[in-house]
């Protein structure tokens, strides 16, 4: 006899295999970088040519041709601890550098003031070396350098010749 093979249709119940939902995951990639304490000057030099420095009347220093002269440098510092120093080097007679006789001068002194971020740094050329450092902090813009208090050591007659001096403005990112 035939047997009926029951075809078991296996009803495969589509069993919904409750596979667990993918747990949300979060990957994190950290990115970091740094900016070094830095100062830079985009305009780092200038020249003040004062011309004739002696009075026609008595040959002594005409301070008015120096006092008030100014030039602008530009730069920036990005750290709150940035400092600035100024060094004024005297105008020295390079034509006649030897010590002059009594009553004559071949050196002109002055005070230089640099203003950056509304902070003044100063130095007098009377004493060698830079002035005290001042904190300028974070700034970007002009550095105005102004001359004042011009004088000669003996208030004497200025020896004829060419005179040269310079103002050095130094920005330091950190102390």
């Amino acid at each position: 006899m035939k047997k009926a093979f029951p075809i078991a249709v296996a009803a495969v119940a589509a069993s919904l295999v409750a596979s667990p939902a993918f747990a949300q995951v979060t990957g994190t990639v950290s990115i970091d970088g740094s900016v070094a304490n830095r100062c830079a000057l985009s305009i780092n030099s200038a020249t003040i040519s004062v011309g004739e420095m002696a009075l026609a009347s008595d040959g002594k220093l005409n301070a008015s041709v120096i006092n008030g002269q100014n030039r602008t440098l530009t730069g920036f510092c990005n750290g709150s601890a940035a400092t600035m120093t100024v060094e004024a080097q005297p105008l020295l007679n390079i034509t006649a550098p030897a010590a002059p006789p009594a009553g004559f001068d071949n050196r002109v002194n002055y005070t230089a003031t640099a203003n950056a971020n509304s902070v003044n740094g100063t130095d007098s050329s009377v004493t060698a070396g830079a002035g005290s450092a001042v904190t300028v902090g974070q700034f970007s813009g002009n550095i105005l350098v102004t001359l004042s208090a011009a004088s000669s050591p003996a208030s004497g007659i200025l020896v004829a010749g060419t005179y040269q001096g310079k103002v050095l403005v130094t920005l330091s990112p950190v102390l």
Binding site: G27, I48, L158
Partner: protein, 205 residues
């Protein structure tokens, strides 16, 4: 059921930024000036000038006999004519200013006795300028109108051996001495106003 945990490994790569070494920067403002070679006359009021002037007024030039005054003839470098000087203050800013002197004889304007024997209308003299120098010394420049040159032993032009004294006060002194009537001191001087001119220049070089 199994829970498969997917662990996401988050690998973070840390970028360690090595900060650049902090650098100082320096800006330079050059300052230049000049002092030109210069000599100036300092006037009493403090103003300056390129010239000075004065008069040595000798007054009556003749003695009672009409000849040139003996004391003018006998005047010397140390005791110039009538003790008169014209002085001024000059400032120079060079190491060896050049001082030059020249002079013209004293002559009567429109003289009518020119060449007449026994008469003179021209008086020669030696003009001198004394310039004070640094170091409390001085130098002379002299000129004899009779020879149109410096007298023997003197120079009419040349650089000083030291700068002009910068001290306050007059440092240039002009005088005349050793006057002599042209021809002979025994000549009678023609009447009239006599005028001679001494020119002194001080140059920075």
């Amino acid at each position: 059921m199994k829970k498969i945990l997917f662990a996401a490994l988050a690998a973070s790569s840390a970028l360690i930024a090595v900060p650049a070494a902090a650098q100082t920067v320096t800006g330079t403002v050059n300052v230049t000036g000049t002092v030109g070679n210069r000599c100036s006359v300092v006037l009493p009021a403090g103003a300056s000038s390129s010239t000075f002037s004065g008069t040595i007024a000798l007054g009556t030039l003749d003695d009672a006999d009409g000849t040139l005054r003996d004391n003018l003839i006998g005047s010397t470098t140390a005791a110039p004519a009538d003790g008169l000087h014209v002085t001024t203050r000059v400032v120079c800013n060079t190491a060896a200013p050049v001082v030059t002197i020249s002079a013209t004889a004293m002559q009567v304007a429109g003289g009518t006795l020119t060449g007449a024997t026994g008469y003179s209308d021209t008086i020669n003299y030696i003009a001198q300028v004394e310039v004070d120098k640094v170091g409390a010394t001085s130098e002379f420049r002299r000129y004899n109108t009779a020879t149109s040159a410096a007298p023997a032993g003197s120079t009419a032009t040349g650089a000083l051996t030291a700068p002009i004294s910068p001290a306050a006060g007059d440092n240039v002194d002009v005088s005349v001495f050793a006057l002599a009537s042209e021809g002979a001191n025994t000549n009678v001087l023609a009447a009239g106003n006599y005028l001679g001119v001494v020119t002194v220049t001080v140059s920075p070089t």
